[in-house]
């Protein structure tokens, strides 16, 4: 029988969210009555209706598929031009950023993209991630053989962990050593931290000076309300020479169940071969996309395009305001409860210190059992998350108000 990829066996028991699901299921089965009042603020999943403009466009696209004259079979693997153009124009060019439509690769989701991007990189790269961090960055590096085993804290050998703490406002400090690849995510999942222009300038400067490729996850850019904060890494001069950006329609358009995202790979972005010569990354990703992917659904891409119409934009704005209103209430409630609170201002996640003496999973269990609220334990995002927990603002207003009351009532 075929040899398996033994790197998978290094992975720690269960990806974070399946473990949460397991505990919630056990609680629900043991406490059927309390389970009825359960409110889920764990996984960062949107809850409100898909924008009307999107639904309208998808209905139209489904109808188009019903006539052979307007039927769409295989589309371009990199995405339909109508969507790539809409993205380039609205998300970049309208903001003065020099990104062309053919530098945009449409996909079925950012989890896929941030995981699959490693396919085009070789082995032997020194890789830095923040701690706490979105687990997918770490786990996909483990799967690809880029790490050693995990230690007792769950930290994998070979990775450079950049600690994010209250001392640096949860924005990673520039490392002293040289790394080849670094993952940054702002607005941050899980901490809700945002990087300032000066901080991102320092990062780009570091990347250019050290030949570091920056994997910049901007999945939450729509939640930035402060106009001074960069929404794209390409707002920073030099980023076209060092950065790949990941974007998603999951959180702005409510597409977590619809599935659409994109990656930006500037044609000016280079990698290197072992002999030291340079090679552009754009054709490598294009080849991967053509060979291991067959394009996002036509119907879904028409839905995503509708987010860029006037109606679509207005409906997205309403969704963002709704969720950010929730975030403000949660921040306030946690502060009133005397807990340290970060995030929730330009991000849909509120990052909260556990009451003294409680670990993240203890706080998870306390919230589940006493408040019947599902949160996400900070330690699930890395050892520096221990003692913290994440509350997601993705919920109805009524649920969030109830969560606030239950936080106030915690013993």
């Amino acid at each position: 029988m075929a040899l398996i990829n033994e790197n998978y066996l290094k992975l720690k028991a269960g990806y974070l969210f399946p473990e949460i699901a397991r505990r919630v299921k056990a609680f629900t089965e043991a406490n059927p009555d309390a389970a009825k009042r359960l409110i889920r603020c764990g996984i960062g999943d949107v809850t409100e209706a898909l924008p009307e403009a999107v639904r309208y466009a998808m209905h139209e696209a489904v109808d188009e598929m019903g006539k052979r004259e307007s039927f769409h079979g295989y589309g371009p693997e990199q995405g339909y031009d109508f969507l790539r153009q809409a993205i380039a124009k609205n998300d970049f060019q309208a903001r003065g950023l020099n990104i062309e439509a053919d530098e945009i690769f449409v996909s079925d989701g950012s989890k896929c993209d941030t995981g699959n991007i490693l396919d085009i990189f070789g082995s032997g790269n020194k890789i830095a991630i923040t701690d706490p961090v979105y687990p997918v960055y770490v786990d996909t590096n483990v799967m690809n053989g880029n790490t050693g085993d995990a230690d007792e804290n769950g930290a994998y050998g070979g990775l450079v962990y950049l600690k994010c703490t209250p001392e640096n406002n949860f924005v990673a400090d520039i490392p002293k050593e040289k790394v080849d690849l670094v993952y940054l995510c702002y607005p941050n999942n899980p901490t809700g931290a945002v990087a300032t222009r000066a901080q991102l300038e320092a990062w780009v400067k570091y990347c250019l000076a050290n030949d570091t490729t920056l994997l910049y996850d901007a999945a939450y850019e729509a939640f930035i309300r402060d106009p001074e904060l960069p929404r794209s890494i390409y707002e920073i001069e030099g980023a076209r020479e060092c950065a790949i950006e990941f974007r998603s329609f999951s959180k702005n358009g409510g597409f977590t169940g619809v599935r659409c995202a994109f990656v930006v790979i500037p044609k000016t972005l280079m990698g290197r071969k072992k002999d030291g010569s340079k090679h552009p990354l754009h054709p490598l990703w294009s080849r991967r996309h053509s060979t291991k992917f067959n394009g996002a659904s036509y119907i879904v891409q028409r839905g995503a395009e509708a987010l860029y119409t006037d109606e679509g934009k207005a409906q997205v704005k309403e969704l963002i305001e709704h969720y950010m209103g929730n975030a403000a209430l949660l921040v306030e409630a946690c502060k009133k409860a005397g807990l340290p609170v970060y995030g929730g201002v330009n991000a849909p996640y509120v990052w909260v210190g556990c009451p003294s003496g409680l670990s993240s999973w203890q706080m998870f269990d306390k919230m589940l059992n006493e408040a019947n609220v599902v949160i996400t334990p900070g330690s699930g995002f890395g050892s520096a998350g221990e003692g913290w927990f994440r509350i997601s603002a993705f919920n109805s207003r009524a649920n969030v108000e109830e969560v606030c009351r239950r936080i106030a009532a915690l013993k």
Copy 2:
């Protein structure tokens, strides 16, 4: 800058279909009038309307997304239970096959699945593919570093090529040597060949005797009309212990632009570690799916489910009959033109020998220039495909009748 995956640089210029697209584009620009009568029988892409049952279900699903009470965000990465149950029941259990819903992994396409499956296998496996073959199997092995460089015929070092020729009716002979992984696809793309029960029994016997993992691509099973021919590898005793099966809704349901497929990994299927111990493949793929994929679109999965209703089944049957009627006409036309013809009986592809002296690409150019018909050159599928070409039966009846007339008129 980060080291790139240099295995990508071993890939030969362009995946087959982009090269076809390039030549067609050049022809179209040079011959705008002739281009107007162009008929595409190249890429195996469906052309007829999406079944009404599917559209109805997708409309309903879009409407569900418009109300927060019935909104669907992130779904289970492995697929919604409603679809996994429908697949297990209709495609397997109703045919007496012992496949459970939780052995089915729903995805956004078979190209992704057949490419990504290599993630769970280690390096050092001896891998066999047929020649000619669907290029994705080869290219993804090249990308993953499982091959050496290509020789002058485009054959990659390290792969075991199983020649398929008229002598073996284009069904691969059992190899003399032991291999760890083998890819088989029946009904075959590109040759339209189908494996008999006895042939598949011999393959499963070989796999069990040699500890070989069989990657069985059954994307075209819906086109099998002969009731004696197996539609699933699991019709063969022992296959649960050696085979993964890939299935797709692309060709039966016309989902090439909608995107939905699935993989079957029996829980009894094992791989091995370097120390010789066994490890089940099911949890590895489940972990990959959870970490690098976020589930197929809810709306799309509801569409796929509708293919299993009575209306859906009747509409699929109609589509299959339409395409197979086309195939019969194409087979007849090529025979009348005095060309050797295979396939087209239990498969939507007709595999035709080039007129004497012509290479596959010469025949491609001749068909493009003289008949204004796009076919697929056999050599694009491997060196054993040289001297052959593939005609796809995916088209309207009127177009196929016109293609038949143009074949008759060829000089």
